[in-house]
């Protein structure tokens, strides 16, 4: 059983909704990245999504684009990201880590080399936004090394394809709550509830819902019908400009604590 599977099994046993914060690796501060990751766990994160910065993040809105640009400007690359995961693992052997990003940095690093280094660092899964199931043959070395490929499902996904995604899902299935980019505002929980209920009934893995969740209220609205919620842009926005480990940890606590309480109270 993988670290991701164990974590979702534990959440289910405790009847809790998982909290999955997303942060862009290297933002707001490369020096304090490991401290930021521990702060996320201290504030209630069940799994961490670590964004690998990419110059051309086609599926992301302005908040995550700018965070990527800031990290790249500081020279952050895949090797740094893996280094932070390895450093994080020295104190935390339980919290699953999923690297989220785009294919080109992994392709250029080399799939086999990446797979080996990622597993060694303690990465559990990858979510490569621009690598749909149809193109994922290139990821075989990652699967062989034991990394789980987190798949996306979207409101536009056709029923036959949804069946295929549900059948192929591992770790968790990430349901994109609306057709758009990360960080957009509108969220229609009624529609999402119906779709997610259907997917949960069929998927081989738990279902996390992301895109558009920004606070305790929107997290709570989703918590009723999802196995986990993903919060990205709103958190990245809150962290922007923070300096020093204490300030970063303070902002993480202030932002995530009410969300954690809302999820646990639902």
């Amino acid at each position: 059983m993988s670290r991701i599977d164990r974590r979702f099994a534990a959440l289910k046993a405790a009847n809790r909704t998982g909290l999955i914060p997303f942060v862009t690796a290297g933002d707001p501060s490369p020096q304090h990245m490991v401290a930021l990751m521990h702060a996320l766990v201290d504030a209630g994160a069940d799994l961490i999504e670590l964004g690998v910065p990419f110059s051309d993040p086609m599926a992301d809105g302005p908040v995550i684009q700018h965070a990527s640009e800031r990290a790249i400007a500081k020279g952050v690359g895949l090797a740094d990201v893996l280094g932070w995961v390895a450093a994080f693992r020295q104190r935390d052997a339980d919290t699953p880590i999923v690297l989220m990003g785009y294919l080109n940095p992994v392709e250029i690093h080399g799939y086999a080399r990446f797979a080996q280094e990622a597993v060694q660092a303690g990465v559990d899964g990858v979510l490569l936004v621009d690598c749909p199931l149809e193109e994922s043959a290139v990821l075989q070395p990652l699967r062989d090394a034991g990394l789980q490929q987190i798949l996306l499902a979207a409101p536009t996904t056709e029923p036959s394809r949804m069946a295929q995604l549900c059948g192929s899902a591992e770790g968790f299935l990430y349901y994109v709550s609306f057709a758009g980019i990360t960080g957009a505002a509108h969220l229609s929980t009624g529609d999402i509830a119906v779709r997610v209920a259907d997917i949960r009934a069929r998927a081989k893995a738990p279902v996390a819902v992301g895109f558009g969740i920004r606070d305790a209220a929107s997290a709570k609205a989703i918590a009723g019908f999802a196995d986990a919620v993903v919060i990205g842009s709103a958190l990245v926005d809150k962290l922007a400009g923070a300096t020093g480990a204490d300030e970063i940890a303070g902002r993480v606590r202030a932002f995530l604590a009410p969300i954690r309480s809302a999820l646990d109270a639902h």
Partner: protein, 403 residues
Amino acid sequence: MSKIVDYNAYPDAHGRFGNYGGSYVAETLMAPLAELTEAYLRLREDPAFIAELDRDLKHYVGRPSPIYHAERLSKHVGGARILFKREDLNHTGAHKINNTVGQALVARNMGKTRIIAETGAGQHGVASATVAARLGLKCVVYMGAVDIERQKINVYRMKLLGAEVVPVTSGSKTLKDALNEAMRDWVTNVADTFYIIGTVAGPHPYPLMVRDFNAIVGREARAQMLEEYGRLPDVLTACVGGGSNAIGLFHAFLNDAGVRIVGAEAAGDGIATGHHAASLAAGRPGVLHGNRTYVLCDDNGQITETHSVSAGLDYPGVGPEHAFLKDAGRADYVGVTDNEALEAFHLLARTEGILAALESSHAVAQAIKLAREYPQDGIVLCNLSGRGDKDVHTIAAREGVEV
């Protein structure tokens, strides 16, 4: 190469040209792309669609465009005959209209009411705004803030045609970022919006569809060569940014093994300086904008900023079919510097009375080099993909002239 390849057999059903192409997009776009692929594959066989496209190309675009023997230029160079396929004579002044007329008809057939496009030099934006106006469709064009500054005339042309031009300020503020932003718009507004990609890049079916709509250039040229010269050219050349005018000229000749093919990429200040946009000559295979192709990126996989005097070639990727042709050895891709392109621009202006676009001037420079390699009865056929009116201010500024 001993293996005989049928170049018409590409791409396959997944949009792959050998190792290149494909559909590297977020899940949200998989269904819209499947819908577009289904619609386009149906329409490309539909006699009514083909007849309407042919009528538009003839009466609206002004096709066929002639091939023109540049006698004074050829004489000046002192080598083979240089012939130009005159895409600069099309309505709106470049080959880009061939594609937008086609995609606009696909959009209308699919019931879409809103057109979006990305543009670098502004030619594709103008061509998109043009067809949107003609069909009464709303049009939004994404354009990098840097390109807006260096292509002011085209920005104003788009506005005159009723389009909204949205400045893109992320990343390098050029064509690649405009493409990202258009993709974000599309993913948000897929229900009513049709995305007209202007080059042979992007996810399947775009490299196929854009190539098909531009392949009229090579089909005409091939027939014109046989009719007017009784033979095929020795060598073809065209400029390559994303590669739409080049694949347009090349495609009909790919199975003619005796015709040599050379693409001219933007070498900017020179490939050795790192300030260039020569993805095929100096890049490596990677994934960008929905397809696997040659890209310019660093060792972290970050796409690097490119440089070219011509906004239309200032792109860090290239259409996947070109990547395939390079690896197959069917076409060669070489760099032409800013200075070489400008020199060719002036030479063409003074010997033939033609102001070529800065993009096309790269092809002209390459045609001049190739002409020197062949005897006087040889033929170099060059795609003169667009006219240079839009570049007059850029050239004047570069040469310290106030207009």
